[in-house]
Symmetry: none
Subunit: 255 residues, 2 copies
């Protein structure tokens, strides 16, 4: 995709959101590392995986930030393409690593029965890879309408996407059924966050269908960034809260 | 080897795979550091060695990434050689450190009998050095066919290669024999991963025998990168899983 000319305001909005995202990822990760031993050992793996997820995302946003800076030069009152391509693929490299980890993290916390856990993890990880490969092909195809390559790959990507969301929704619902009080509220929140953040990605993907190139570029960058902050750092905080509540319930006391 | 002209897609594929590899190495390393104390002390050395292996690889891929960026400039719709050489030798410097560590790591986990362990480690480490020296000579000789310097050094490198794979296969098979259930499956997986990843390197090495320069460059870079991610980060995760399963079996409980 050719990079469109942006106003200073448009360019800076993306720039600042990317920086905000780096800070969110890196320092939520620092929090998880420091606070990890407040969680009982049997629930700690989810928090460890959160740490890895936000660290990987922090690395990629650092790269995306650098690529965004290099892709534009200021010219009068506007930013124009510098000739260096903006590498959107970083997001997909990131998701290829982090989405399977996020899925595993949630399944761990749902205490899925041992005999079906491995099969479920395998299926959802395969679905994740399919979803991202189709998404990447659509995103980099240069298409921008519902009926061209962006639309077709987007549709194909939606099939595994729906499967993963359906599996996770079900497992959280099952895990929630026998919980009470505060813990039940936390499970309900994470189920809501799941639908909210995952549901947001396809909407962002569709931005070029209805907008001019400049608006679409800004909305895609800002939209994915907000979704990633919520789905990784925000989600990690909720996972931490659930693990802490379970630890308290089990009477865990830090050494 | 002269660097061939590449399309934006070819150049970007290598670029993104190198970045993906950096993330895989660095953050699997972070995981091993954080999760290490979930492993019983007697199995922990393998996980510590994994951490060192992926860290060394992360460093070298950081260098390779920088070298790749510097070696090309965009010119119209293509990437052409900038005049700065692309330093492929980083890989061999990396392997010279990491391959002996990977071999030792696996032998440790196989609980090789004490009286033959040191001899076995010595022999495989010597074989590793021979394998890599011949491989390096072939890779940097400028040859590109089965009958020139690339082919001849490749053949010489294959002799110690076959010896190492044969030793490791045997030791894993012996270690596997008295295991049961989940642990046996994990040992079978690591034996499979061993053959799959090690077997992949010679195939990548042979790419220039059958392809034009641009395809060969892309395939060699992407191929070695995938092999390294599997043989170091992926292998490290499996080693972790085996060490964890053995710790659980011994009734290890985190302090």
């Amino acid at each position: 995709m050719e990079l469109p000319m942006l106003t200073v305001g448009e360019y800076s909005l993306v720039y600042n959101m990317l920086s905000f995202c780096i800070a969110s990822m890196v320092f939520s990760g620092l929090f998880f590392i420091i606070a990890k031993d407040r969680i009982a050992p049997q629930y700690r793996m989810s928090v460890i995986l959160s740490t890895i997820v936000v660290s990987i995302a922090g690395y990629h946003y650092f790269r995306i930030f650098g690529s965004w800076e290099a892709a534009y030069v200021i010219e009068g009152a506007n930013y124009v393409a510098s000739g260096k391509p903006f590498n959107d693929a970083y997001r997909y490299m990131d998701w290829l690593l982090t989405v399977p980890l996020l899925v595993v993290e949630l399944l761990l916390l749902c205490s899925v029965a041992a005999e079906k856990k491995e099969g479920l993890i395998f299926n959802t990880v395969v679905a994740t890879v399919l979803m991202l490969v189709f998404g990447y092909l659509g995103e980099t195809s240069g298409g921008s309408s519902l009926t061209d390559s962006r639309g077709i790959y987007g549709f194909l990507s939606t099939i595994p996407f729906v499967y993963i969301v359906w599996v996770l929704w079900n497992e959280v619902s099952v895990a929630m059924a026998d919980k009470e009080g505060h813990l039940k509220v936390l499970y309900r929140n994470i189920r809501f966050l799941l639908i909210f953040t995952w549901g947001y990605y396809p909407i962002v993907y569709m931005a070029p269908f209805i907008m001019d190139a400049a608006s679409a570029t800004v909305n895609v960058q800002v939209g994915y960034t907000i979704a990633d902050v919520a789905a990784k750092a925000g989600y990690g905080c909720l996972i931490y809260a659930i693990a802490k509540a379970k630890s308290d319930e089990d009477g865990y006391v830090m050494a």
